[in-house]
């Protein structure tokens, strides 16, 4: 049962790191990285819960593992959308800052594009 404990704590620490990275770092790409870390921490926790539920000949409870596979695909499509949105924002305004006024003063093309 040791890996449940070890990887459970590892999942919680990675989730904490992801939360910290997503909130503190002003760069949106680092926020997306933080979100991915947080997501993998939560999915790791799903894996630990599945491992605890190992029974009937399976090394792990299949239901949370199936949820993780669905979750990873959803998290990847979220990352792809966020990265493309960030790149488009950077191309349009030349700045990738989320600060309130950043878009306005950094805007290259006029508002009536």
């Amino acid at each position: 049962m040791s890996e449940v404990l070890v990887f459970g704590l590892c999942a919680a620490v990675v989730a904490g790191l992801g939360l910290y990275g997503a909130i503190v770092d002003p760069r949106p790409l680092r926020k997306i990285l933080g979100f991915n870390l947080l997501g993998s921490g939560v999915f790791l926790f799903f894996g630990v819960v599945a491992r605890r539920g190992a029974a009937a000949g399976f090394p792990g409870d299949p239901v949370p593992q199936a949820l993780v596979i669905t979750g990873i695909v959803v998290a990847f499509s979220a990352t792809a959308l966020a990265v493309t949105l960030l790149l488009r924002f950077f191309e349009t305004t030349g700045s990738s800052s989320l600060r309130d006024g950043a878009a306005a003063d950094g805007a290259r093309d006029t508002a009536e594009s």
Binding site: Y20, V63, L85
Partner: protein, 330 residues
């Protein structure tokens, strides 16, 4: 034996070191490289947790495709990096956030210790009902039969992500093609890699799907490998992404959820419940859905990494040059 816990501790330790590195390092490109290393190492953790299916998914989607996506973005954002990095909050705010994040993580870890000892599990129920679909792999059973609704909705999410990315293109570029910028003079090593690796990848992708009936594998994992191979071909310049207006591409993107929906509605009529399979026909129907799914998901994941259309639509009627090399997607 006491040695195994040490092994787990060590694997977890390496994973944590790389995770801390990914958050702490200054330069974004090395943070992305750290994240790719983290993703690949996570596959080790998933194997230790007895979930090879998820290890496949994590290694393929978590680090392979996400890594390719993020490294491209990191390179293009390097110009604006310094101005934004300056907006870093002050030390007190950072300490407060660190403390709060620690409390949340500690709460989650604390709950782990308090979870009930005979852990509640659905494994026995999953095996008891596995007879209905005749599939050996319990996770495929859960994904395709017991919780088929989540899998079908998830394909809608993928389609939405592609639509969201396409809608971010400039108006003039609509109908054009998203192209990975391959350079004028082809790079011999990359082209060789693409020519040799792609067939191996396609065979492996289809095998991972075919095996998924009874052994770890699945349509998503297979689709990710096919998408990676398609992207490798595009990177090597051996193929072009088809224009987003082409009917075949649109159908390829929709065929997965569409087949899932029609078979689900068929189940409503024939065997009494939406997304249920008539007795005895479950396995062939599930495989049919999975083949439609692998085609859609491979195309979708490839397009998600390729990005929004950039070049304008082709002159009317000009055939798309260099139809993509051998791969499942049209």
């Amino acid at each position: 034996m006491t040695i195994v816990p040490a092994l787990d501790l060590f694997v977890a330790g390496v994973v944590l070191v790389v995770a801390v590195w990914t958050v702490a390092v200054r330069n974004t490109s090395s943070a992305v490289v750290g994240f790719v290393a983290y993703g690949l190492l996570l596959a080790l953790v998933w194997v230790r947790l007895g979930a090879p299916d998820v290890a496949l998914t994590e290694a393929a989607i978590g680090s392979g495709l996400t890594g390719a996506l993020l490294i491209g973005a990191a390179a293009r954002l390097r110009a604006g990096e310094s101005t934004v990095a300056a907006e870093r909050p002050g030390v007190p705010v950072r300490l407060l956030i660190a403390a709060l994040a620690t409390v949340v993580a500690a709460a989650i870890a604390g709950v782990l210790l308090s979870l009930p000892d005979p852990a509640p599990t659905l494994a026995p129920e999953a095996t008891a009902n596995a007879g209905a679909t005749g599939l050996g792999n319990p996770i495929t059973n859960v994904l395709m039969a017991f919780r088929a609704m989540d899998t079908m909705l998830e394909k809608v999410v993928l389609l939405l992500a592609v639509l969201g990315i396409w809608s971010l293109s400039p108006d003039a570029a609509w109908g054009g093609r998203p192209h990975l910028p391959h350079r004028a003079e082809p790079d011999a090593a990359l082209e060789f890699l693409a020519r040799v690796l792609t067939p191996v990848g396609v065979v492996l992708g289809i095998a991972v799907l075919w095996v998924s009936a009874d052994h770890p594998g699945g349509a998503f994992q297979g689709a990710t490998i096919l998408a990676a191979m398609w992207l490798l071909v595009l990177m090597a310049g051996l193929g072009e992404v088809p224009d987003i207006g082409r009917r075949r591409l649109r159908l390829a993107l929709v065929v997965g959820p569409a087949v899932f929906l029609t078979i689900g509605l068929g189940g409503l009529v024939v065997s009494g419940a939406f997304l249920s399979y008539p007795q005895g026909f479950a396995k062939p129907l599930i495989l049919a859905i999975e083949f439609a799914m692998i085609l859609t998901v491979a195309t979708t994941l490839g397009l998600l990494v390729a990005g929004p259309p950039v070049a304008g639509p082709p002159a009317a009627g000009s055939a798309a040059a260099g139809s993509p090399a051998r791969r499942a997607a049209p």
